[in-house]
């Protein structure tokens, strides 16, 4: 019998090792698995590489991990969110490494990891500084840059509802990076607002099939 539900946030992030690469969902504040990130803060893993679109904001989520000196490197498209302080501070001090990736390439690189592909050529960024040091090839008369798959040891994802097999549906634009990150990590951990019974989710409308999910924890929220 398969039951991916775990009882606590601590259990959800158990075993996260120092030096791990952690994929963190969310775009702006939507879809950020704040409670799971805070559970990583409590869990203690250090020297992390964080893959996420923004670099957190204020004193919460990824910003808190940075503030506590737990992040060695961040791979993202847009670290300067409104209200972001800690990334800038560590960046200026030279104590955090930044790998900047165009947003579509960031998502596509994670998909490539999840899909078992060895990499792809994209025109995005091929004319830019971000292609420096990478293979560039003319394809169909246009410059393309070769981009490598980007997988994680752990993915932290926020969804709306989940069942014991790990099937997930999301809420509106909070879906964003979640479904792709879920495919791209060795261990995919999801916080859902609500557990539902197996069979309650419409098989035509499951967004993330449970095969991509390892642990699900319920974090209730006010509506």
């Amino acid at each position: 019998m398969i039951d991916k539900r775990v009882a606590s946030l601590a259990e959800a992030v158990q075993g996260l090792a120092d030096g791990s690469t952690v994929l963190v969902g969310g775009f702006g504040a939507a879809g950020v698995p704040v409670e799971l990130v805070h559970a990583v803060l409590d869990q203690g893993a250090r020297d992390l590489t964080i893959v996420t679109n923004n670099a957190g904001s204020g004193e919460t989520d990824v910003a808190a991990l940075i503030r506590e000196g737990r992040v060695r490197k961040i791979i993202c498209s847009y670290p300067r969110s409104m209200g972001s302080i800690w990334f800038e501070e560590f960046y200026r001090a030279g104590t955090i490494e930044l790998e900047l990736v165009p947003q579509g390439t960031l998502s596509e690189r994670m998909r490539a990891a999840g899909a078992g592909l060895g990499g792809f050529f994209t025109p995005a960024g091929a004319d830019s500084l971000l292609a420096r040091g990478k293979e560039v090839r003319m394809i169909g008369g246009r410059r393309h840059v070769f981009e490598e798959p980007l997988g994680g040891d752990v993915a932290l994802v926020k969804a709306l509802r989940g069942d014991r097999w790990g099937n997930l549906v999301y809420n509106k634009a909070a879906r964003n990076f979640g479904p792709t990150m879920a495919t791209a990590a060795t261990l995919t951990v999801v916080q859902v607002r609500e557990f539902v019974e197996l069979g309650d989710l419409d098989p035509e409308s499951v967004v993330t099939p449970g095969i991509f999910v390892d642990r699900v924890v319920q974090v209730e929220e006010e509506a």
Binding site: P102, Q103, T105, L129, Y170, A173
Partner: protein, 225 residues
């Protein structure tokens, strides 16, 4: 010297006029967002947001904000009937794959070859950030730039070559500023519209690369003028 000029809303409205009925449109952060507010009532335009929305509607009424329904600039929006949600990778398929008819982007600089610089300046103080601009610039069928004609201190933003790092080369089709509407063609910048009361010499003086002028240059009349 004060020159006649369009307001931001007038600039956005001029862009909106060029967007055909039925278009799929992605608006960049900042001034381009205004274009969504000035589409004429007769047109059905479907707005795309990079974070996984097609059929994005206007800002919600106060008290009806859902922070899980935001646009690329992280402001609350709504969904119109017929809209849909999808994940980021699918969203960027739409952008990079040539499915967006029109994108309207801000810019630091545009070259007469249509090169676009809109993600980084030479300010080493700020950490770099790129977002979705590079995917949109290479992928949209038509790339429109909406920006002020010069920098706040009067330096030209339309140039023979961009001096800031490129977002993408040879992608911009048309530029809309407070002073003019300018096509980017094989022969460089071609002025199509100019604001009333501005001379061709005035416009050239504010532009870093040579301008040519369409056979008939339309006149843009600011509400204030």
């Amino acid at each position: 010297m004060t020159v006649p000029q369009l307001s931001h809303t007038e600039m956005a409205a001029r862009v909106a006029r060029d967007i055909p009925d039925g278009s799929y449109v992605n608006l960049g952060i900042g001034m381009p967002t205004l274009v969504g507010d000035v589409i004429s009532a007769g047109k059905e335009i479907i707005f795309h947001s990079e974070n996984g929305i097609l059929g994005m509607g206007p800002a919600p009424a106060p008290g009806e904000v859902d922070w899980e329904l935001i646009n690329a600039g992280k402001s609350p929006v709504t969904l119109v009937p017929g809209g849909s949600y999808f994940h980021h990778t699918d969203s960027f398929m739409m952008m990079r794959g040539g499915h967006i008819d029109v994108t309207v982007l801000g810019a630091f600089q545009v070259s007469e070859q249509g090169d676009l610089a809109n993600w980084a300046t030479d300010d080493a103080h700020l950490p770099p950030a790129v977002g979705g601009a590079m995917d949109l610039a290479v992928g949209a069928k038509r790339v429109l730039v909406l920006m002020m004609h010069t920098t706040p201190d009067g330096r030209p933003k339309l140039l023979p070559e961009c001096t800031y790092p490129l977002t993408a080369a040879q992608v911009v089709h048309r530029i809309y500023t407070e002073l003019a509407v300018i096509d980017v063609g094989p022969a460089g910048f071609v002025v199509r519209d100019m604001v009333a009361g501005l001379s061709r010499e005035d416009l050239q003086r504010r532009t870093g690369a040579p301008l040519t002028f369409a056979d008939e240059v339309a006149v843009l009349v600011p509400a204030g003028g």
